[in-house]
Each structure stands twice: as C-alpha cells, then as structure tokens.
C-alpha cells in the first residue's frame, strides 16, 4: 500500500457517518431549547412595558375609589393577572 493510499484510508476511517439520527435529534433539541429561550426573552419587553403602564396608571386607578374591592380582592386580581401572564410566557416557551 502506498503512503497516498494509507493517507486516504486513515482519513476515511476517521470520517463521521453520512447519516446519524442521534446527532440530528440532539441538534434539533438544542435548537428547540435556543428557540424557547429566545421566545421567552422576546416577551420580556412586553412584560416590562405592561408593568410600567400599570404603574403609570396607578394614580388613575386609585382615583376610581373602588370601594367594592378590599385588599384581599386586589391581591387575588393581581394573582390572576400574574398567572395569566405566566401562562402566556410558558405557552410561548413550550411552543418553541
């Protein structure tokens, strides 16, 4: 066997297979994770903007003098809103 043939045979022996479903699946998984993180990150500005808007509107909401609501009800309403926001973000993450 000539040195040139040895070289080609040794290189061929070290080559990756033409198809590798395990590698392809692992790569797809990492892409999906990256997409999920990107989706969650993309929703952060919306959440921040929403929080800022609520903060700005706080005096107006206070002026409404919603005497019907007591502290517990306000807390419950805030909890519902927070849960809804978390579900929206989680849905985006899981969809990725």
């Amino acid at each position: 066997m000539t040195p040139e043939e040895k070289l080609q045979h040794l290189f061929a022996a070290a080559a990756a297979p033409a198809r590798d479903p395990v590698f392809e699946a692992e790569t797809a998984l990492r892409v999906a994770r990256r997409r999920a993180v990107a989706s969650a990150a993309a929703s952060i500005p919306l959440v921040v903007a929403g929080a800022a808007l609520l903060w700005l509107l706080r005096p107006m909401i206070a002026d409404l003098n919603l005497s019907v609501l007591n502290g517990a009800e306000v807390t419950a309403a805030a909890g519902v809103l927070a849960t809804g926001a978390a579900l929206v973000v989680a849905r985006q993450v899981l969809r990725g």
Binding site: P3, A13, A16, F23
Partner: protein, 175 residues
Amino acid sequence: MTDAELARAARDGSDAAFARIVARHQGAVRSFLRRMCAGGREDADDLAQEVFLAAWANLGRLRELSGLRAWLLGIAWRKAQDRIRRGVRTAARETAWSQQVVSPLGISAEDRIALAQAMAGLSPVVRACIALCVADGWSHAEAAQALSLPIGTVKSHVARGRARLLAALGGPDDT
C-alpha cells in the same frame, strides 16, 4: 430540495428544512472538526452542534444561499480556531487524534500514530486545508471560500501539508 431552497425555507422558520440541512451536512462538519480539534469525538460533535446552533441563529445573514456548505464549514473553522486558541495542547491533540482513528485493514498502528503526530504538527490553517481538500475532497476554490483564504494560499498549504503527511507515512519528504 437544493441547499438554497432548504436555506430559504429554514430562514422562513421551517424546522423541517433546518433538520434536513443538519442531516445533509453533519457528516462534513463533524469530520472536519474531528480532524481539527483535540478532545476526541465527543468534543468535536459538541462543537458541531454549536456550529449548527450558530447557523440557525444567523441564517438571515447568509447572502449566497447556494454556498450553504462552505458557509457552515466557515463557521466550523472559526469555532475550531476559538477552541484551539483556548489552550489545547499538542500532546492532547495527538492523543485524541490517534484514539479516534481505528486502523483500517492493512495499515499498521505505527502508521496511524505517525499520521496523528504529523497532523498535530501542522499549523491549524494547514490542517484545515488538508482536512477539507485531502480528507474530504473539496475543491481548492470551495475550501478557500469556507476558510476565507486566497485560493493560492490554500493550494500551497495543501501541497505542503500533504507532503509532510506522506513523509510521515513513509513517502518522500519533498518539503
């Protein structure tokens, strides 16, 4: 589908198209990285996944869609350079290379080790040219595109590197 069609579809958000790109080009990217990097097959494959992640994130920047393979190998080359710069020692590279390769029939373990040591002795850019043009049969032009080198430089690197590898395997040393 052609590479250009797949790249266009993947850029438009098709996961199936991107999966086909990975399936089509994983062999070339992984083989290249196995020849370039220390740390064995697992490290090279992990780096190959990073290459495809970077490709997925930057598909929008790919101008010439038909040049997808060279573009992917260009990313692989830059990642391999980063990995090499992060302090990979020659001894580790020699060991990794020799462990990766199973001797084909008719080739001695001495030849296998000699090739490993000769590959480790090449500079990264010469090794990259050898990996693409000699090991994987790329044209000089395509390798030049992937490695962002002048074609004349690729030709000279290939000639010099091949001579050193052949000398290590018992051929004439014409360097």
